[in-house]
Each structure stands twice: as C-alpha cells, then as structure tokens.
C-alpha cells in the first residue's frame, strides 16, 4: 500500500511539475483571493489583522477545491481511470498517493499565503510551532476529504458545481479549528490554540481512515 501510494504521489507531483497548472493557476488564484479580501474589508490594517486567520483558511479551502478538481482531472482523460484500476495498484494506495500529492500542493500554496498575510495584512506570528502544526494537520484533513469527494464526483458532468457543494460543508470544522488555532498562534495564546489541534488531528485521522476503507468501492464505481 505504501509503495503504491508513493508511486501514485510521485506520478501526480511529476505531472504537476511538468504541466505547471498548480504553479500558474492555483497559486495566483490563492493570492488573488487574499487581495480580494483586502478590497472587501477596506485598507484599515486593524480589521485585516483581526480577520487574517479566517481569510487565510478560507483561501486555503478554496484552493483545496481547485487542487482536488485538478487531481481528478488528470485521471479523467484517455481511459486513465481504467488504467489505474487495471494496474493492480491497491485502491488505498491510490487514495493515499493522491492525498499526498494534493497535500504537497497545499503546503506550497500555504507557504505563499502565509507570506501573503504577513506582507499584505501586516500580521505577526507569536507562536510559530502552533501555526505550523495546525497547518500540517489541517492540510492532511483537507486533502483526504477533498480527494474522497473528488473521487466521488469524478467523471460526472456536473462535477465542477457539485464538488464545492459537497466538500465545503464537510471541511467547515477545519475552517473553524484552523482559524481559531491561528488566531491563538498570532496572539501567543498557546493553551487555547493547542486545544483546537484536538479537532484538526481527529479530522485528519478520520478522513484518512474512511478514505482507505472506502476508496476501493468508489474506484469500482466511477
């Protein structure tokens, strides 16, 4: 399973590196969202600074939808899905590999977004480790839930509109916990921030487990 996961992740990452879709479309989109938030809230630095964690996580959520759509789009052409299914690769491995590839892209996006809110919204991070741990856990959870629903809606003609409707409510807890943890990390309130990790951690674990268990039947389906 793990070797298969590595193979699939490697394939996806290679495709992304060569096609540069993530670099030239997903990343600029994330930055654009930040700038638009700035327009929506006005130039006053205090309002932006207070809202920064929430805006950051909203941008990450939107990017997750894009990244999962992209992750499924590269399987949609020329019978690739059938190829993947016939290759004898463990479905759980396919799932974990796809999650890893999406997570890697999300990490890259988050690095840029993090720099973005520091530069554009003038925030100062008091507790770095808390922000980093929260981001990592949230990224795993987001990618797992995203890939699961991406697979569910893959191959449907309405997937572009269906996927956000399915994914965004599911990941609402990540938005809540992530932005709370980041608010705490910015102000240095470690104790209250750390308690939010108790939601991010189980969320990631639960969706990884559900994905490993259910990706098989899902792959047969589509």
């Amino acid at each position: 399973m793990w070797r298969d996961a590595l193979l699939v992740a490697g394939k996806d990452v290679r495709i992304e590196l060569r096609s540069r879709v993530a670099l030239w479309q997903v990343l600029p989109f994330a930055v654009l969202v930040l700038v638009l938030f700035g327009f929506a809230l006005g130039p006053g630095p205090s309002a932006l600074r207070v809202a920064a964690p929430g805006l950051y996580w909203l941008a990450v959520l939107f990017t997750t939808v894009l990244a999962t759509q992209r992750s499924m789009a590269i399987e949609s052409g020329e019978g690739t899905r059938d190829g993947l299914r016939l290759s004898g690769i463990d479905p759980a491995g396919v799932f974990l590999g796809k999650v890893a590839a999406v997570a890697l892209q999300l990490v890259a996006v988050q690095v840029v977004l993090g720099a973005g809110i520091v530069v554009l919204f003038d925030v100062h991070v008091a507790t770095w480790w808390l922000a980093l741990v929260a981001s990592l856990l949230a990224t795993v959870g987001l990618s797992a839930a995203g890939v699961l629903y991406g697979a569910l809606s893959a191959g449907l003609r309405v997937r572009e509109t269906l996927l956000p409707l399915l994914v965004l409510p599911i990941v609402a807890p990540v938005l809540i916990a992530g932005s709370r943890a980041w608010s705490a990390a910015l102000s240095g309130a470690v104790a209250s921030g750390a308690s939010w990790l108790k939601i991010l951690g189980p969320f990631a674990a639960v969706y990884l487990a559900v994905g490993v268990a259910l990706y098989g039947p899902l792959q047969e389906t589509a």
Binding site: L156, L166, A172, P173, R180, L214, L218
Partner: protein, 320 residues
C-alpha cells in the same frame, strides 16, 4: 410493492394524521399558556419533535442503511432506496427545525438567527445532506449511484460529531438542550408534558409514513427507467433487423450504397433517444440514462457498420 405493504402505509398514514390532529387539539385548546413564554410555548409541541425526527430518526436511518448497503452481505437496492428516502425526508425536517426554531427565536431572543452551536451545526447538517441529494440527482446506473450515494452519506455522517464538537467549542455560549435544560424541564409538566410526548409520537409516525411513501416512489421511478430502457432497446432491435432484412439494403461490399444506411440507423437511434427524453421530462435522470445507454450502441449497429469500415466512418464523423 405488495398490497400488504400498501395497506401498512395507509395505516401508518392514518395513525400519523390522527395523532397529529390530536396534538394540535391538545396544543391549542387544552394546554394552558406558559408563565414566562406565554402562548409561544405551543411551539414546544412541534419544534423538539421535528428536530428529533430530523437529527436522530432520519439521519440515523440514512447512515444505517448506507452502511448496510456497503456491507457486501446485505447489499441490495432496498437499503439504497431506504437511505435516500430517509435523507430526503430528513432534509425537509431539518429545514422545518430551522424554520420553527427561527420563529421561536424572533420573539424570545429578538433575532431570527443567532450563531449558537445548535443552530450552526443544524444548518451545516442541512447543507451536508443537500449535497447528498444533489449527488443523487446526477444520472447514473442504479448500482453505481447507490454505491456513490452510500459513500457520500457515510462520509457526511462521520462529519456530524466533528461539526458538533467544533461548533460547540467555537461558540462556547451555546444553548443547552431544551428538554435537558434544567430550568425549562421543571416547567414542562402535566398536560404540557403529555402533549409534547404525543408530539414526538405524531412526528415519528409522520416520518415513517413519508419514508414509506417516498420509498414506493423510488421503486416506481426505477421501474419506469427500466421499462423505458426495455422499450427503447426492443424498438432499436426491430429497427436494426428491418434495416438488414430490407430487400433494398446493400449487400456486402457494395460501395456507395451501404454507407448512407449506417448513418440513417444511427440518426434513427439518436432521434429515438431524444423522443424518450422528451416523453420522460418529469424524470430527467432516467431520460438521460436512456440517452446515455442509447448513444454508443456498438452491438446493434455493427452488422451494418462492419462491411464498410472505410465508408462508414467518414459520414459518421462528418455528422458529429
């Protein structure tokens, strides 16, 4: 569906009607207005029962039947249909929960909506299961759709406790449960308690009745889909044999004449699919299901197509 089942549905419907009528009578004419809330308390006989049905009966049943569908030994379309019916009724009841709660909140709290944990998580639950319904409306083979929807329901259901926890922490000033709220619990007694209990029974019966009826609709809709497929298949068979048996039809290798024959058949098939789609407009899923199945038809078209691959593909490509 058997006659006995239909009778049972009617009996449940009758019981639901009677108990609801009885609850209405008790709620408006027998029970007194409350000391603090006045006549507003009468919403108490509707709102908690509706919420109970939505949050526990409907989504519990949906999760259970999805699980039983995914379990290989109990995999039948029965569980799929039951789960879908439960979700659909559950969505209606969740919306009613929010509406009745909002009606109660406006005079009591002064606002239609507050961001308390209960309200927020119920609203999220509604959106989660609306997504399920949207997924269900996507045309697909019944088996495929069943598996897809079962997975979606389970994934959504797993999210429910996480949503509850996170929203609870997010808004720590949350409202306590109405029945479990100690202050209110003391006030609900006597005829009011009995009315509320009857309200629970009535709403549960309404739920069971709606699920039974919805299940039957699901079965009938699937049957329509199957029968339309049968009809269109047999018609196409008839058409195919008519073309090959036609005395004027081209023999093997006759150039020029064979080629127009193939597009004619395919155009006929395409038109048939469109006709079906038009006739079946109230049930778009099945119509497009038929259309999807009709489009490729490689087996039936091949007797005509095989003799002249070179000629046949050209006009076909041109028409598309």
């Amino acid at each position: 569906m058997s006659a006995r089942m239909r009778l049972a549905t009617r009996m449940v419907g009758l019981a639901a009607l009677v108990s609801t009528a009885f609850t209405v009578w008790l709620a408006f004419w027998v029970t007194p207005p409350a000391k603090v809330m006045g006549t507003l308390v009468r919403l108490l006989y509707l709102h908690p029962p509706v919420a109970w049905v939505a949050l526990y009966c409907a989504f519990g049943l949906a999760a259970l039947s999805s699980l039983l569908y995914l379990w290989r030994r109990t995999r039948t379309l029965f569980w799929d249909r039951l789960g879908a019916s439960a979700v659909e009724v559950g969505v209606v009841f969740t919306a009613l929960t929010l509406i009745t709660g909002s009606l109660w909140g406006r005079p009591t709290w002064g606002v239609w909506w507050t961001w308390t944990a209960r309200l927020t998580s119920t609203a999220l639950l509604l959106v989660l299961f609306l997504g399920y319904l949207a997924l269900r409306r996507v045309p697909a083979d019944p088996e495929v759709r069943a598996r897809r929807c079962a997975v979606a329901a389970l994934v959504a259901f797993v999210d429910v406790p996480i949503v509850m926890f996170s929203v609870d922490w997010w808004q720590t000033l949350h409202q306590q449960g109405t029945v479990l709220n100690p202050g209110l619990d003391l006030k609900v007694h006597g005829s009011m308690a009995w009315t509320m209990l009857l309200g629970f029974v009535a709403m549960t019966l309404v739920f069971v009745w709606m699920v039974l009826v919805r299940y039957r609709v699901e079965v009938l809709a699937d049957r329509i889909g199957d029968e339309e497929l049968e009809v269109s298949l047999s018609e196409r068979w008839a058409e195919g044999s008519a073309v090959t048996l036609d005395p004027g039809a081209p023999s093997r290798g006759a150039p020029g004449r064979g080629a127009p024959g193939l597009p004619a058949t395919l155009v006929g098939v395409g038109r048939r699919a469109e006709d079906l789609a038009e006739h079946a407009s109230p049930v778009p899923e099945h119509a497009s299901l038929v259309a999807e199945h009709a489009a490729p038809v490689p087996e039936h078209a091949s007797p005509v197509a095989e003799p002249l691959p070179g000629h046949a593909t050209e006009p076909l490509g041109g028409r598309r």
